[in-house]
């Protein structure tokens, strides 16, 4: 595009040299503009790093540098336990979402049964129900079942909230798989469970990755479910721990920023490594 562009304009307007200089100036301006946007987008990280490298006194004074909030981090915030909690909650919830969503997506795409399209539509619509809309009954139900102590209640709620999207994504994905492939497997004596496990799961790896990445970021970063459905402070996930300390307004800002950075790192790593799956998941349904 760039070559033809220069050639064409050079016919009508001045010599090639001035044109390409104009292009270079324009590219340079774009670069500067993009750099400015980058500074804005990196601002949160800058705040976290700079503020965490101060002691409380240095922070109040507005200058100085110290490792003290990092050194005392584990005693200010139970960060190790909270990261472990977050990891367990994420892993179990995602496992449940995949275990439930994968067969269902497969069924809605390839093993259609009576009323399956209506049921599919109903499940997909559940994607639109915000937790806050059903928060009170949900909370009372889970409490009555005695599941608000440890992880179980939160995991169930996360699984239920994540299932509609994963069913939708898997069903959309499997529609692109030829029927013959599945038929052949079933006729070959694999049976339905065998076909699911040996044929469908291997094909679905990209979709599984998309669901996993999206749900990991969603659950790792969530506050509301963890705040209400995990009453034991010893089993609190990291995001909830940070929010509660921040709302309490007694913990020093540098310590909170150090904790924030620790909580942000896993999700950022997952995000950077699996960026393309994230994009795929977001545009699923309109970009195929």
């Amino acid at each position: 595009m760039s070559i033809t562009d220069t050639e064409r304009t050079s016919e009508s307007a001045g010599p090639v040299a001035t044109r390409s200089r104009g292009r270079r100036v324009r590219r340079g301006a774009l670069f500067v503009l993009m750099g400015a946007v980058a500074i804005v987008m990196l601002y949160p990280f800058w705040v976290m790093v700079v503020d965490s490298l101060k002691s409380q006194n240095q922070f109040l004074a507005g200058h100085g540098f110290s490792w003290s909030s990092w050194r005392t981090l584990t005693s200010t915030i139970p960060i190790v336990q909270e990261v472990i909690s977050s990891t367990i909650i994420c892993a179990v919830s995602i496992a449940l979402i995949l275990a439930v969503g994968l067969p269902a997506g497969f069924a809605f795409a390839k093993l259609r049964f009576r009323a399956s399209s209506v049921i599919f539509l109903a499940i997909v619509s559940a994607m639109m129900v915000p937790l806050q809309a059903i928060l009170m009954p949900e909370f009372v139900n889970i409490t009555r079942l005695g599941l608000t102590g440890g992880y179980t209640g939160a995991v169930l709620v996360y699984a239920a909230l994540g299932t509609p999207f994963s069913v939708f994504l898997f069903a959309t994905y499997f529609r692109g798989v030829p029927d013959e492939l599945i038929e052949a497997g079933i006729v070959d004596g694999l049976g339905y469970v065998g076909a699911l496990w040996r044929l469908v799961v291997p094909i679905a790896i990209p979709a599984i990755a998309t669901v996993t990445v999206l749900q990991f970021i969603q659950i790792w970063d969530d506050l509301l479910v963890g705040l209400l459905f995990i009453q034991n402070t010893s089993e609190r996930p990291i995001t909830v721990g940070l929010a509660v300390l921040a709302a309490g307004r007694t913990t020093s800002i540098p310590a909170l920023m150090a904790g924030s950075l620790v909580s942000a790192l896993p999700a950022m790593a997952v995000y950077l490594i699996f960026q393309r799956y994230l994009v795929k998941g977001l545009t699923m349904g309109i970009d195929r």
Partner: protein
Amino acid sequence: MSTTTLSAKPRRMTLRRRRQFAGALFALPAMVLVVALIAVPIGQAIYYSFTQWDGLSSTWIGPSTWTQAFHNPNLWTALQNNAFLLLAVPFALGLPLLIALLLHQRVAGWKIFRSIYFLPTAISWVVLGLVAERFFAYEGTLNSIIHGLGLSHVTTNMLGYESTALSALGITFVFTMIGTNTMLFLTGLATLDPSLEEAARIDGAGRWRVFRHITLPHLSRFIQLAFVMTVIALFSALFSLIFVMTGGGPGYATTTMEFLIYQTGFAQGDFGTAALYGLILFVLTAIVGIVQLRLIGSDE
């Protein structure tokens, strides 16, 4: 009619029934989970919205709970706050559109810039709320910038005043949405056939006309999807920001519907009214949700 087809027919019937049975069985766990934890609570919320309910025992009151709720000024404040925040939506779509167009020029290093722009998407809104609080604080970055511009007599404290706290929340919301929406628009731009724009340029169309008549129509579905996702986030994902930044205050200045539900239920213990507010939020998002279903449906 050969005998083979005749004998094959009943076998094929049983095969189809077996397949349907397998399909229903495979879909069952997902159905159970969604019914038990999403559908049933909606029904319960409707029932409890007509009762006096503290989470333990409920007494039926009837439709008067609804008239009472609509006479509560806090509900109207929350709805007003939600309506005001809708003003952030054009910015939450417009800025990402500009950024996506910028990235789409593919200047040297654009892939690195892309990763940087999307990075805040991975961070919890709890953390972004904490950072935003630092930005707007009395001794924070915003005031440093203002003073740096030579306006040393101006000092803001946006989160501290009823008149400005909601705007600060809206600005933070726009920032948190930039990554996701830019990602959507960039994906949309990538599916645009460059020869189309090229052809228009040959025909003498200027940059603006190419954008207006080729790029924008091509992006319309992506813009619709981004719009729906942004509005739903605005109605149901601000909890983390509010919890960390303002706690709903000063006064009720930053209490939106979703935060009002939390406060009414868990701070005041009025589960019945909170359930009722939940239903109002449900209706609001359902309206937006129907638009999205149309969007998905139009694709089939």
